[in-house]
């Protein structure tokens, strides 16, 4: 047996605890074995201790993938740090796997560091099925040969000493091991278990705490290493939720009354959560018969006074487009959330991508100007909903909020929001409309008009998706068609005047500016930090408003020698033999920046379905910086 393999039960004497700035841990099991619960608990405990935390769910595409399959890995990646953590980080430092097959999936995907510590359930070596034993031995030996620091852990056998069905409690045993390995506070861990199983019997909590303690003890006695990621206790309360929960809470906090949706991955969990909590606050989640109906339903509800929201992902967004065009044309405020996934078509439903940007900006036939925002952090997911509602209502516009699969399932602590009354929508105006007022009395400068809602005496008019005049009468006159088009477009300019210019991360000028939007913010800024520490003159700019884009961007772009966007949507590779300047398809934001600001913007993108790693970005940027003139 290889020297690196610990013998089960053998006692190590002195435990060496190494202090780290940060650590990336992955926990994987078959679906339903509880690795996710374990990972999230690990993150929560670390967050309570004051560590920066980012957790990412590892989700198989199937509900019940076959046991012990490479594609069936279900679990969590948890990155903890001494400082604030803004993304899932690079390759994992430590991986725990409930079987060798789910581990293989992550190894093959390049998710583990070359010398990653692996704690592998060893029960498979004793399987009565010789095929399983062979698979286990083969994988174990391969990983050892490749240099991974693999430790076999008799998880199941240890758990069996405490519970009848060890498969059910293994995850808490693993949590205990992690608490030991990362020097987490066991009292907090016990509290965490009480919190998770709060609804269940005291007996369940006791049994899980026993497993936790057994895991801790086993690691204490059998693993000679340990780590400590020092933490500074937060001084204010922090919220630990994922992006979809943040969207749902944002809907609640924005005072919107109605959410109409149709189930779609990865957006649906926002509506699940909202369904659970909304009604207690008098709101309603309507599960419509399809995406089109969900959009139309939300439009109908919005039309009567209070902005409604519809939450979806790419394919659903495609279906909603005609309805969105109606809302644009009739100037009915509406909030649409698109939790992006891999596309086109069914694409990669559970994986992350940023490939809907151009669709949401330019989609729906005809000229249909709408506001597009992109949440870039979990906290942003929450506040974006409040902002979106307010913009929709102020400008009678459709506001699309983009999130994506990586934000949807990632968790990061952020300061607990302080409720404010002005987050909420005002009551519906039911006062009579002044005599002579028109439903589309477009302001010549801003394009804005007052909206008449049903119930307002004197406001009766028929709203229509046809071109219409100020009185909402169908326009047969070419001039009137232009007037409406003009007004609807002007509203974006009016909003733009209200936006604060974006802030550059790093110096305001330099050799290279990295521009991004959405969930890549943390990874981009971390890469910029690393490269600046190496002496490079790199900064970044992250856009929350994609349409309209705030003022001041062109000036920022011009202060850098080169500009590049980093995005998770496809862009042609300049090195491909057929690709040149005249046919290269740029990433979405790069294309927009080039078109709008006449600045030469390069791009680099990755569509691997996973969050872009800061290490990958650093590598790309270093290559771009190697050019003689930019060498620091």
């Amino acid at each position: 047996m290889n020297a690196a393999v610990e013998l089960a039960g053998s006692r190590t004497t002195a435990k060496k605890v190494v202090t780290l700035d940060e650590a990336v841990v992955e926990i994987m099991s078959d679906s339903g074995e509880g690795a996710q619960k374990c990972g999230q608990s690990f993150g929560s405990i670390a967050a309570r201790m004051g560590n920066g935390v980012w957790t990412v769910e590892i989700i198989p595409a199937e509900i019940q993938p076959p046991a012990r399959s490479v594609a069936g890995a279900s679990g969590n990646r948890i990155r903890i740090g001494s400082k604030r953590v803004t993304n899932g980080g690079d390759e994992a430092d430590l991986a725990i796997a409930f079987n060798e097959q789910v581990l293989l999936g992550r190894v093959n995907a390049g998710e583990l560091k070359p010398d990653c510590i692996i704690l592998l359930e060893s029960v498979w070596a004793e399987s009565p099925d010789p095929k399983i034993v062979a698979q286990y031995v083969e994988t174990r030996d391969r990983l050892l040969a490749e240099g991974y620091r693999l430790h076999e852990v008799p998880m199941e056998n240890e758990c069996r000493k405490l519970v009848a069905d060890p498969r059910k409690g293994k995850n808490m045993f693993v949590l205990g091991m992690l608490c030991n390995l990362y020097s987490l506070d066991m009292d907090l861990a016990r509290e965490q278990i009480a919190f998770i199983f709060g609804k269940k019997a005291e007996k369940v909590i006791r049994s899980n705490v026993a497993l936790l303690e057994a895991g801790f003890a086993w690691a204490e006695h059998n693993l000679a290493f340990g780590f400590r990621v020092p933490a500074v206790r937060a001084t204010e309360p922090q919220l630990v939720i994922n992006g979809n929960t943040a969207i749902a809470l944002g809907v609640l906090a924005s005072g919107m009354d109605i959410c109409a949706m149709y189930p779609i991955t990865p957006a649906t969990s926002a509506s699940h959560y909202l369904s659970d909590v909304f009604e207690r606050a008098g709101g309603i989640v309507h599960q419509a018969e399809d995406e089109i109906a969900a959009c139309a339903f939300a439009i109908g509800a919005s039309y009567t006074g209070k902005v409604a929201v519809t939450i979806t992902s790419g394919p659903g967004y495609s279906l909603k487009q005609e309805g969105i065009g109606l809302a644009v044309m009739a100037e009915i405020p509406l909030v649409v959330v698109d939790v992006q996934r891999g596309g086109p078509s069914t694409g990669q439903p559970t994986k992350s991508e940023q490939s809907d940007l151009l669709t949401v900006m330019f989609g729906s036939h005809g000229d249909a100007p709408k506001v597009v925002m992109a949440a870039s952090t979990i906290e942003d997911c929450f506040y974006s909903m409040i902002t979106a509602r307010r913009i929709a209502e102020t400008f009678n516009m459709v506001v699309v909020v983009l999130s994506d699969a990586s934000l949807a399932t990632a968790q990061q602590p952020f300061p607990r929001p302080q409720f404010s009354d002005d987050w909420l929508a005002p009551p519906i105006d039911q006062n009579p409309v002044p005599e002579g007022a028109k439903p589309y009395d477009w302001d010549p400068v801003t394009g804005m008009s007052r909206r008449f809602v049903p119930g307002q005496p004197n406001g009766m008019h028929t709203l229509t998706g046809l071109a219409h005049d100020r009185s909402s009468r169908v326009a047969y006159d070419p001039e009137i068609n232009e007037q409406g088009m003009h007004a609807r477009s002007l509203k974006l300019a009016a909003l733009q005047k209200m936006l604060t210019p974006p802030r550059v991360f790093g110096d305001g000028e330099g050799d290279l500016l990295v521009v991004g939007w959405g969930s890549t913010k943390g990874a981009i800024e971390e890469s910029v930090e690393r490269l600046r520490a190496e002496g490079h003159k790199v900064s970044s700019l992250h856009l929350s408003f994609l349409q309209p884009m705030p003022a001041g961007i062109k000036e920022i772009l011009q202060r850098f020698k080169r500009v590049i966007t980093i995005e998770a949507n496809w862009s042609d590779l300049p090195e491909d033999p057929l690709i040149d300047e005249t046919n290269r398809r740029y990433s979405a934001l790069a294309m927009l920046l080039r078109a709008r600001y006449l600045v030469d913007v390069d791009c680099w993108s990755e569509v691997r379905g996973r969050p872009i790693k800061p290490g990958s970005i650093c590598e790309v940027l270093r290559k771009r910086l190697v050019r003689e003139e930019f060498r620091p």
């Binding site: 018969e289 439009i299 409604a308």
Partner: protein, 318 residues
């Protein structure tokens, strides 16, 4: 004086006239059956004393769907096939509004068919008028799902291939159907009676109105228009009462209790004679908005309290 009772008195005293519900001048073709439907609805609004600002006519796309423009109430001329989900959103958000839907055989039974099926099931308190002329009019004569087999149109120059769909049997086949009636544009008195009963029904009232399109299928209903014996009048004390004057013309009558769904399905299957009257009514079917809004209370305080309670669940305290 502006005391509450004075205001209430004012409300009671208000008697809107037909003109108060008349909007733009209809631009339908000469002899179009939609005019009869418009007249019936304007009369309904007046006779029921519906406040124009509390009334919304929602439509999709097609000749039928121009109707809201000709009303002086709130109107929502939406997109093709989606009138029903729009109307549902309106009703769920604002149950205080009277919501009507004007839709056609293309709008409802073809592009909007999925919404139609589910609207029946939601059973929201909405009055739906299906203007069924068996043809696409606004797009200039294409076969619709209700075109009788053999209908010659621009897309079926040698005659349509499939048997017509029956909107009545479809509606009666869906769970939670609560009001199904049929009227024809050429018997305005009965049309008015039926839309009134539909409006008064608390639930999803579906009225299929056979409507003539003289422009594209001028002869479609001629045999029935000219032979009153080919009309089957459904009468019942809980249904429509045929006036003595009409009784003389439409002598082909049967007693039909609208509570009897099996008989309703049988009658609905008859294409000739054309049944006219209330086929089915069940006031006991719960309305979606009543289910969803029960006990709904929404104030700044309820929102704050529930938000704080949720935040508590996820807060890590220092």
């Amino acid at each position: 004086m502006s005391t509450v009772s004075a205001c209430l008195h004012h409300l009671v005293e208000e008697h809107p006239a037909l003109e108060d519900y008349q909007g733009g001048v209809p631009r339908w073709c000469k002899g179009c059956g939609d005019n009869a439907i418009l007249a019936a609805l304007q009369r309904l609004c007046r006779d029921e004393g519906l406040r124009p600002e509390k009334t919304v006519f929602v439509s999709g796309i097609g000749c039928s769907s121009r109707l809201p423009h000709y009303m002086r109430t709130y109107g929502f001329h939406g997109i093709h096939g989606r009138a029903l989900p729009i109307a549902e959103g309106i009703k769920l958000a604002r149950p205080d509004l009277h919501v009507f839907v004007n839709t056609g055989d293309g709008d409802c039974c073809s592009i909007g068919a999925a919404h139609w099926i589910h609207a029946i099931r939601y059973n929201m308190n909405i009055t739906v008028l299906l203007h069924d002329n068996h043809i696409y009019g606004l797009t200039k004569k294409q076969a619709s799902p209700t075109s009788p087999i053999g209908t010659k149109s621009n897309t079926t120059p040698r005659g349509s291939y499939l048997d017509a769909m029956s909107p009545l049997t479809v509606t009666l086949g869906v769970q939670n159907a609560s009001f199904v009636a049929q009227a024809v544009d050429w018997i305005p008195e009965t049309l008015f009676q039926i839309v009134t009963a539909a409006f008064r029904h608390h639930g999803f009232s579906f009225v299929r109105i056979l409507q003539r399109c003289p422009e594209f299928v001028g002869n479609m209903f001629e045999p029935w228009v000219h032979d009153p014996q080919r009309m089957l009048m459904l009468t019942h004390q809980n249904g429509v009462k045929v006036s003595p004057a009409l009784q003389k013309i439409y002598r082909n009558q049967i007693e039909h209790d609208p509570a009897d769904i099996n008989r309703a399905r049988e009658i609905a299957s008859s294409e000739d004679p054309i049944p006219v009257g209330i086929l089915y009514r069940n006031p006991q079917v719960p309305c979606y908005e009543d289910l969803r809004r029960a006990g709904m209370l929404r104030t700044t305080d309820t929102i704050r309290t529930s938000l704080e309670a949720e935040l508590d669940k996820f807060t890590v305290w220092p």
